[in-house]
Symmetry: C2
Subunit: 457 residues, 2 copies
């Protein structure tokens, strides 16, 4: 990276923090309609900031609710294009009385900046704009083509973004999607999350006799929906926690030896999990570690089951109905729609006698992976290492970030999740904050990355 950029960043630090403070002061709470105007001002603030940084074709683009801000600089002929995604909306602030300083009056204490959105995600979005600004101001151009897509609805589930992406596929076309909305592995330990699990699930409703029955008068002679449901659900797994739904594993991308090595490198403490959760034992699919099971392997879990009497003591009924909610976490390259179909087929095949079974799918999400040997990820790892001085960890997350899967599905662009937050920074809670150490290092990492990408893809 150009040394002038580093000097610029250092010289401009105070001004930048003042600007960040301004940005954080805007109460852009996307879920509350009384803040609709604030969300809009915030979009305009971003738009101005992008223009000042040297982005072109900057626009605030309306959606059905809160606008998307777009900007681009496409002057790096023959070079790769990076699409930077983030969000400028924030979570509500209640309970307000638990904040040590007001959520929209940013305050720096102990080298941390306290405010709603400081870490999630305004702070991190701001860093990208300021990184671009620093390179533009010092080199008059950028080493890669850059597009910004900053939305205002992430905290309400990005309801309008999938359609927006679909409608603006060409405008958003890029070689890398860069997102800073996640956390480091730990303080001083950078990590890139290269895979997320997807989601597919169903509600199973089992209907038996038309009313609850006396278990004396009818027990043994009529289908008991609770028993029939239990048998059906028990059929989903074998005794070794393997899922018995036919075809369930067919499209599962096996963990590579490199990926398993990356897991091992984390030196994860399973004993600590057991202790924290007060469990005598961790269980799961044979041949995999805890971390592999919860992020690299698919699951089928019961989230809820209910039927019949739940009160104190005994009530000798045969319930008329029983219900279960099950969800699967999916790994690449499983397809949620296909998995739902396989589950429906399994239920059909194992349909219990004498009862009606209804299966209702829940919302779905695709799994995502950008294999970590991808040059865009390897370059990111190197940029992290340059600043943090330790090897970058490669991790997978067991949960889902639905919008990442949407980008992946529509744009087919490799995704780099380059986060600078910390798990301890109280996002979504009172006293959200962001460590300035990671603000400074992160700015340098981003600048370094843009230069590095120029020659990597």
């Amino acid at each position: 990276m150009n040394n002038n950029v580093k000097v610029y960043l250092s010289e401009q630090r105070d001004r930048q923090l003042e600007e960040l403070t301004e940005f954080l002061k805007i109460p852009s709470v996307s879920s509350l309609s009384e803040h609709t105007k604030d969300v809009e001002s915030c979009a305009n603030w971003i738009s101005n900031s992008l223009s000042e940084a040297g982005m072109q074709n900057v626009k605030v683009m309306p959606t059905k609710r809160h606008p998307v801000v777009y900007g681009e600089w496409l002057g790096a002929e023959g070079k790769p294009t990076v699409l930077i995604y983030g969000h400028y909306d924030v979570q509500p602030v209640d309970p307000l009385h638990l904040w040590e300083t007001p959520p929209f009056e940013p305050m720096i204490r102990d080298e941390k900046i306290y405010a709603r959105g400081a870490s999630d995600d305004k702070g991190q979005v701001f860093m990208h704009i300021k990184a671009i600004e620093a390179i533009m101001k010092t080199t008059d151009s950028l080493p890669v083509n850059v597009k910004f897509l900053i939305e205002g609805e992430e905290e309400i589930g990005s309801p309008n973004l999938p359609d927006f992406i679909e409608e603006h596929k060409e405008m958003l076309a890029a070689d890398v999607l860069l997102i800073s909305d996640t956390a480091l592995y730990a303080k001083g330990e950078p990590a890139i999350c290269y895979a997320l699990r997807g989601l597919a699930g169903v509600q199973i409703d089992v209907k038996g006799p038309k009313r609850d029955l006396h278990s004396g008068a009818f027990g043994g002679g009529v289908p008991n929906p609770a028993k029939q449901l239990v048998d059906l659900i028990a059929s989903f797994h074998d005794d070794n926690f393997q899922i018995r739904v036919e075809g369930f594993y067919d499209k599962v991308r096996a963990l590579t030896e490199e990926e398993r090595e990356a897991y091992r490198a984390l030196q994860f403490d399973e004993e600590k999990v057991k202790k924290d959760l007060e469990l005598s034992e961790l269980v799961g699919e044979e041949g995999y570690t805890f971390l592999e099971r919860v992020s690299g392997r698919p699951t089928l879990e019961i989230n809820g089951i209910y039927g019949g009497f739940q009160g104190e003591g005994i009530k000798t009924v045969i319930p008329a109905e029983a219900h279960a909610k099950i969800t699967c976490r999916l790994v690449p390259n499983q397809d949620p729609d296909e998995i739902i179909q396989l589950i429906e087929k399994h239920i059909q095949k194992n349909k219990p006698a004498g009862v009606e079974v209804t299966v209702t799918p829940f919302d779905k999400g695709h799994p995502f992976i950008t294999p970590f040997d991808h040059p865009a990820i390897q370059a990111a790892a190197k940029s992290y290492e340059e600043e943090y001085g330790v090897p970058t960890k490669f991790i997978r997350e067991g949960g889902s970030i639905p919008i990442v899967a949407v980008f992946d599905q529509i744009l087919k662009t490799p995704v780099v999740l380059m986060g600078f937050g910390l798990e301890s920074e109280n996002i979504h809670s009172p006293n959200e904050h962001f460590h300035l150490e990671n603000f400074d290092k992160g700015l340098a990492v981003i600048c370094d990355y843009l230069f590095r990408l120029s020659d990597s893809l």
Copy 2:
């Protein structure tokens, strides 16, 4: 039977119905403390009535709550002793506005007497007293020795009767226990219930992680109590509805060919059950009919199961706990305590990994049978046939009458359930009534039975 008895019954009918009206006027609601005095007057009324009928050693015997009335006549030397059990307490009357005439102002309409307790059980208790009276007044003695035990707590579960029976074993010793507190098979079709199922059950509580967990972050790596419970419960049955708890069937008294013939003679309409319950299919243990399954075979039923999220839609949690309530209906000669032990052993043997399982037994009840070839039952069947002119049916009930099992366990006396009610008589509901046809026929049946018993045992 002596013809004088018939003449007496016919001549005294109006007076008897007046007396029954008096008896039914007493609001002896055992569950409501404001009726404590009424329950006591009712005991005294019974006591007087027994004395007037010629019973000796009549006494109102206190218990912790409502008194028991006892009386005896032991002058039939060398003849069998009959213990007649019934109850003089009644159910509450609410909702009062649904009664066509007030519950404690007995009224005869269409040859039925309407009042709370008319069928359950004052009407039937009254018949026994009047049968005794008729024989005593006409023959100056009784063909058998007779003891009465009329309690005042049946409708609240007879909490004090087991101890009372235990403490007065000798006083209550008899060759037959005669109870009229059940129903005919249908109008004009007498039936003797010769067996009841017992009850044994447990609550199963499964505890996993110390709090609900995110199924993304932890799914696949920790024990899911709902899944572990489902597996455990699924292990209770094989695919053919046979119970897999080791030893469960060891003490089951097989249905005899005569008993199965008695079942067949009922010409039970299984299609009607399916239609009433809106079931596509009746299921159960292979090789048995519906009636056999629900009354002659033991069961293990889930009465309730619950764990995790039960709201609308999806919540991707791994629940911290899951629970089930299961009860078994037992048949002779299964022992409830032994069955609980076998279930506990089964759970221990099939204990799911990584979770804590707690098993809490519920209240238990013994099954009961007096094989219907017993002379006391055969005599009862003949007495019924004498009056009703059709063969008596022999039935088993799938439910439990706990106090019958208690008598059976403590006194070891054959039990004859000689009921005169009808299923349609609204017991426990508004507009309870009793058909006078069965009052008249029943009085004759009881008299005939006492004479018949004299030579049968």
